[in-house]
Symmetry: C2
Subunit: 232 residues, 2 copies
DNA sequence: CCAAAAGTGTTGGGTGTACACCCATGC
DNA sequence: GCATGGGTGTACACCCAACACTTTTGG
C-alpha cells in the first residue's frame, strides 16, 4: 500500500472535482434532456448526466463542455451555471465535488462516445432512474428552467432562428405543464419583440392568410437586452 | 523532490477546493459586506472574502460557514449558492477551485480569528482593492443581491424581526441606488403582507399618530411562501 | 424654527386575464 | 364534416407610476 507511490502528491487533502451538464432540447413538441448510459462503474448501465473529471488546464465550464463533447459530440449554443453538488457520500469511489451546468441546444442528436455506452434524449417529465444524486440535480434544473424562462429570454437558443409564436407557446405550455391563453401569450411576445427587437417578424413568409407567422431571433438585440436585464 | 513523500497521494490530478462567503449586513442606512484582511500569503495584508479550504467531512456550504465562523465568529441567518470560480491562474500558489456562497446576517460585528489579521464591514458601493478574483465575485454578488431582492423575500433576514417600512425602503433605495416612490413602495409591501402573511403589522406600537408603524417578519409564513415561489 | 422624514389618496396608463369568434388544414 | 390549431377583438381588473400635502421629529 505504502510502496507504490502515486503520481499526484499533495500536502493537504483534496477532493476529486467533476463537471456535469444538463442539456435541454426542444423538438417542437416536448422538452428533453440528454442523458448517457454509463459504460463504467460505478452505476454502470444506469442513466446519468454527461460529465466527468476536471483537467488541469481548464475552467469548470470548459471541463463540462469538453466532457460533453467527448461523450456525446454535442457543443451547446448557450451554457450557464446551475449549482454545485458536494454531499460527502455522493460517489461511492471517493469524495467528488461536482459543478453542474445547464445548456441549450437545437437540432442535434449526438453520438455516444468515450465512457458513454449509449446516449438518449429523455422527456423532462418522464425521466428514468438516475445515477449518483442526479435525480436531485434534475429537480433543481427543471425549477431553474422555469424561473429562467420567466425572467430571461435565453430560451430562444432552444428554437430555430426562424420560428412561430405557436412554437414558443408549445414550449411554454410543455415546460410549465399548463395551457396559457394563446392570445395573451402572443400579445406579450409581440410587444416584447417590438420594444426590444429580440424577435422580429419575418417580412413575408405568408403562404396563406391564416398560417402561422414567422419570427426571427435577433441575437445582437438579445445580447444588448440581457446586458441590462439579465438574471443569470 | 521525489524523496519526501507527501501524505496525500492520488492516481489523478486534483485541484484544491475552497469555499468563500459574501456576507451582507444592513445597518439601517447602508448595505455592507464583510471582508477580512489576509494574515498570510498570498495577498498578505490585502482585503478578501472570508473563506478557506474544504475539509474531508463537510459539504461546500458547511465548509464555507465553518471558515466564516473560524475567521470572524459569525453564523449567518440565511445562506445560498452564488457561483463558482475556476480560472486556472486565480491563485498563485496552486490551482484552486472556489465555491462562493452569499449570506445575510443582522446585528453582528464579528471578531478577527484564525488567519484573518483583521475584519471590517465595507459599504457595498465603496469597496477596497480585493485579493484574488474577488472584485469580480463582488460584482456578481451585488447583481445577484439586486435580482434576489426583486424576486424573493429572503432579504427579510437582513432586518430585525420587528421593523418599519421606511427601514425596508432605505434598504432598497440604497441597494438599487435609486429613490423609489415611498407611497407605492409601502402599498406594495402592505399588500404583499396581507396576502402572504410574511409581514404582519404589530398590533399597537403607536406612540404618536405619525410615527412609523412596526411590522413583524413571520418566518413560518415566509417558509410557506417561498415553497411555491422561490427563485433561489 | 426649520429641515428632513414619515403618513396618507387619487388618478391615469399599461399589462395581464378571461372570454368568443372566425378561418384554414387535415384526418 | 368535424376536430384541431391558429389568427384576431374586446372588456374588465389589477398593478404600477406619478403626482402633493400634512404632521412629526430632531438638531
Amino acid at each position: 500500500m505504502g510502496e507504490n507511490v502515486k503520481p499526484f502528491q499533495y500536502d493537504y487533502w483534496r477532493p476529486s472535482v467533476a463537471a456535469d451538464n444538463v442539456v435541454y432540447r426542444f423538438d417542437g413538441k416536448t422538452m428533453q434532456v440528454l442523458l448517457i448510459k454509463r459504460g463504467n462503474e460505478p452505476f454502470k448501465g444506469k442513466w446519468a448526466l454527461p460529465g466527468g473529471f476536471l483537467e488541469e488546464n481548464e475552467t469548470l465550464q470548459e471541463g463540462a463542455l469538453r466532457e460533453l463533447k467527448e461523450e456525446t459530440g454535442i457543443v451547446p449554443r448557450y451554457t450557464a451555471e446551475l449549482c454545485t453538488c458536494s454531499g460527502v457520500d455522493r460517489d461511492p469511489r471517493t469524495r467528488v465535488i461536482s459543478a453542474v451546468f445547464y445548456s441549450f441546444v437545437r437540432d442535434v442528436e449526438g453520438v455516444a462516445g468515450d465512457d458513454a455506452a449509449d446516449i438518449c434524449w429523455f422527456d423532462i417529465h418522464n425521466l428514468p432512474e438516475l445515477a449518483f444524486d442526479h435525480a436531485e440535480v434534475m429537480e433543481k434544473a427543471i425549477h431553474r428552467l422555469r424561473v429562467s424562462m420567466k425572467y430571461s429570454p435565453y430560451f430562444f437558443y432552444l428554437l430555430d432562428d426562424v420560428f412561430t409564436l405557436p412554437d414558443l407557446w408549445r414550449m411554454w405550455t410543455y415546460v410549465y405543464k399548463k395551457k396559457m391563453d394563446r392570445r395573451n401569450f402572443q400579445k406579450h411576445w409581440i410587444a416584447f419583440g417590438a420594444v426590444t427587437g429580440v424577435i422580429e417578424p419575418v417580412v413575408d413568409s405568408s403562404k396563406s392568410p391564416r398560417s402561422p407567422k414567422f419570427y426571427r431571433f435577433n441575437e445582437a438585440a438579445y445580447l444588448k437586452y440581457i446586458k441590462s436585464n439579465s438574471c443569470w
